[in-house]
Symmetry: C2
């Protein structure tokens, strides 16, 4: 039976806002208005062991808003076809056999393009995941080679979680602020050499065209902040997207309780130190063990 | 170069907790302990136009925890192979041509099983998405037929967003509390006949074996609540999962600012009413226009 309101989600929200909202004074910049009115090419890199929510958190926002703003998506990997989130075998500790967790769940996404033939990209999103570790241990530099090649061509580079390792190895973080998930702080920040301003307490960072987020779910908060930058905070379609997906975002980039949870306020400086020793070697500049862990959120527009 | 802490994310967190935590008094129930120690079969239903985060929000939690608790995953659809999140054409209003938004982003997941050969399932997750609408308009009842067939065989049924339409049409919501996303309240609640206790202000509901969540991102909060029920709140692996993915969950099932955002406190009762008329016809029992829209969250365990 056909009803007067036969559907849901974003499309309804967008149409309702357009019909019900008074004309809002445009506070969008010229650039934001241009962004709303051009087709934007988004590329998402994946590799075996990509972290599911690193990809699909931000992707949900781009997907939802694509009903109203023109976007094209490329999912980019070494080979086209299915790419599993299943974690490849990798070394946990020197001298031990590889950790094989192939029994973990293995959802698979379709890669539409390869590093060789990905189209022109405006925004490149690089997820994290334990697959990062496996790539490094296999001396596979394909992800960072691709990023290094395309970095100048792209308008924006976004990393989620340990995806910032790929940015670091590609050389694009030199002289920039960056963060990562806090459970892998020491490992991630050992990459890219000197000159990277690793920020230990940050939900996400933005430095020019380079945006990096903390772990996994933080990618959603970064994605909203990015879309607010790209399309404008008052973009009706962005507001409708956030309220259609019923996500109340963390909007303060400094809110990072997980830097406290994961004790990112000391830095391991000898081969034997590490979280297991709890010995404070060097205090990490900018880390705040007393950072407020509670964050209060509400729907966008309220 | 190999470091003493070469990896990230959940595996580290789990190992750290196991090594560093004092032995915590077990407060888990017998059932929760059994759940931690048996292989659990999870099935996720998809269909063309599945909502990305409806699937991958909860799936991230199951994926992460699968390093420590045995889980097997089936992605179930009408046919195996690639299933697109791209929204199929569907009618928005009677008398108008179908709305074709094929230009929207089209990420694709791999379906591993069909409705005909899905294995024995303990937990069935049903996402929402505009694909629901297209299925209904095509008189395609395959999703609800599958749910109706397997409902008694499964231990738990979980729906996200408009996935509760499928549960309603399968007849499993009779006499139960249920909710859905709030942007499609009228449409969703027109399904399943009388006898369903639709709850208008709820982030998620639980009624026996049936769990339903509000829109999209609410699925993550429901998934955490479910895993807390299933494995126990003090399950170290669940705590490590939530802190590894850096998600601070909404833990109050009654917190639902989106019922206010989407004005779910009136119910359309004539063919011409609806959100466009803003005429209050019937007040929806249990709806609260003054519900608090702000929610404060913090990391699990803090």
């Amino acid at each position: 039976m056909f009803t007067s309101k036969p559907f849901g989600l974003v499309a309804v929200g967008i149409i309702m806002l357009q019909l019900l909202s008074p004309v809002v004074a445009q506070s969008a910049t010229e650039e934001q208005l241009r962004n709303r009115n051009r087709t934007v090419s988004l590329g998402i890199v994946v590799f075996p062991g990509w972290e599911p929510l690193d990809v699909f958190g931000p992707l949900e926002l781009f997907f939802s808003i694509s009903v109203a703003h023109k976007l094209v998506l490329s999912v980019i990997a070494a080979e086209t076809g299915l790419v599993s989130a299943g974690v490849p075998p990798h070394l946990m500790k020197p001298g031990e056999p590889p950790m094989d967790v192939g029994y973990m769940l293995q959802p698979k996404i379709e890669a539409t393009h390869t590093f060789a033939n990905a189209p022109a990209l405006d925004i490149i999103l690089i997820p994290g995941g334990l697959g990062n570790v496996a790539l490094e241990q296999a001396n596979d530099t394909s992800v960072e080679d691709f990023i290094a090649l395309r970095a100048d061509h792209a308008e924006y580079l976004l990393s989620v979680c340990t995806g910032s390792v790929s940015l670091a190895r590609a050389g694009v973080l030199k002289g920039r602020r960056a963060t990562t998930n806090k459970g892998a702080w020491d490992w991630v920040t050992s990459h890219g050499g000197d000159g990277i301003n690793w920020v230990p307490t940050a939900r996400w960072t933005q430095d020019g065209k380079v945006w990096t987020s903390s772990g996994v779910a933080a990618g959603i908060d970064m994605a909203y902040a990015f879309l607010r930058h790209f399309y404008g905070e008052d973009d009706e379609n962005l507001v409708a997207t956030m309220n259609g997906i019923e996500y109340a975002p963390h909007t303060n980039a400094d809110w990072d309780p997980f830097s406290v949870v994961h004790k990112v306020y000391w830095r391991c400086t000898t081969p034997t130190c590490g979280p297991l020793t709890l010995t404070i070697h060097d205090k990490v500049p900018g880390a705040d063990p007393d950072a407020n862990v509670e964050g209060c959120v509400k729907p966008v527009g309220f």
